[in-house]
Amino acid sequence: MLDNALKTRIDNEIASESVVLFMKGTPVFPQCGFSAAVVGVLSHLGVKFRGINVLEDDSIREGIKVYSDWPTIPQLYVKGEFVGGCDIIREMYESGELTEMFQTHGIDARPS
């Protein structure tokens, strides 16, 4: 269950930037291989994003899983919308869909 205050906090985090990544660790120092992989992809595409370190906040760490009905971290949000976790981001990157998706949302991204 997600209480209203926590839901509002997560809403605000997701709305804080066009591209938001809930991750373990920070973009500079990821603390999990799956988070590191997504950071690597975003960096490679030259996409600006805000990383939110769930290890610093247990309520966000558990709350984000309920919020998105998604059991794992990392989680990528673009313009407020949940895009996927590590496997989905990797697949979209490999097929070129990820760059397309960013460009559709008016976000600069290099071709993969």
Binding site: C32, D69, W70, P71, G85, E91
Partner: protein, 85 residues
């Protein structure tokens, strides 16, 4: 404990896949968060199933996650999914 066999069986029962592979990759993560000796914490799953047709990637993953909900809230620390229809 979650094993590659019990996970594969659950997914087979629920999805009747054309192809399924479940690999316990826990040993690749020795010493990482969530890992413990003896395996059963990290899995890579590849499934080709008609039930995924017409579903978005996120929906396909949610379907698998819902089938493995008990394992995900218990032993499984990481589940890498490669899904196709």
């Amino acid at each position: 404990m979650a094993t590659a066999d019990t996970i594969a069986q659950k997914l087979k029962d629920a999805l009747s896949p054309q192809h399924i592979e479940v690999e316990d990759v826990s040993h690749h993560h020795a010493g990482h968060a969530g890992w413990r000796d003896g395996g059963g914490t990290h899995f890579t799953v590849t499934i080709k199933a008609a039930s995924f047709a017409g579903k978005s990637r996120v929906q396909q993953h949610r379907l698998v996650n819902s089938i493995l909900a008990d394992e995900l809230s218990g032993d499984i620390h990481a589940l890498e999914l490669h899904l196709s229809s």
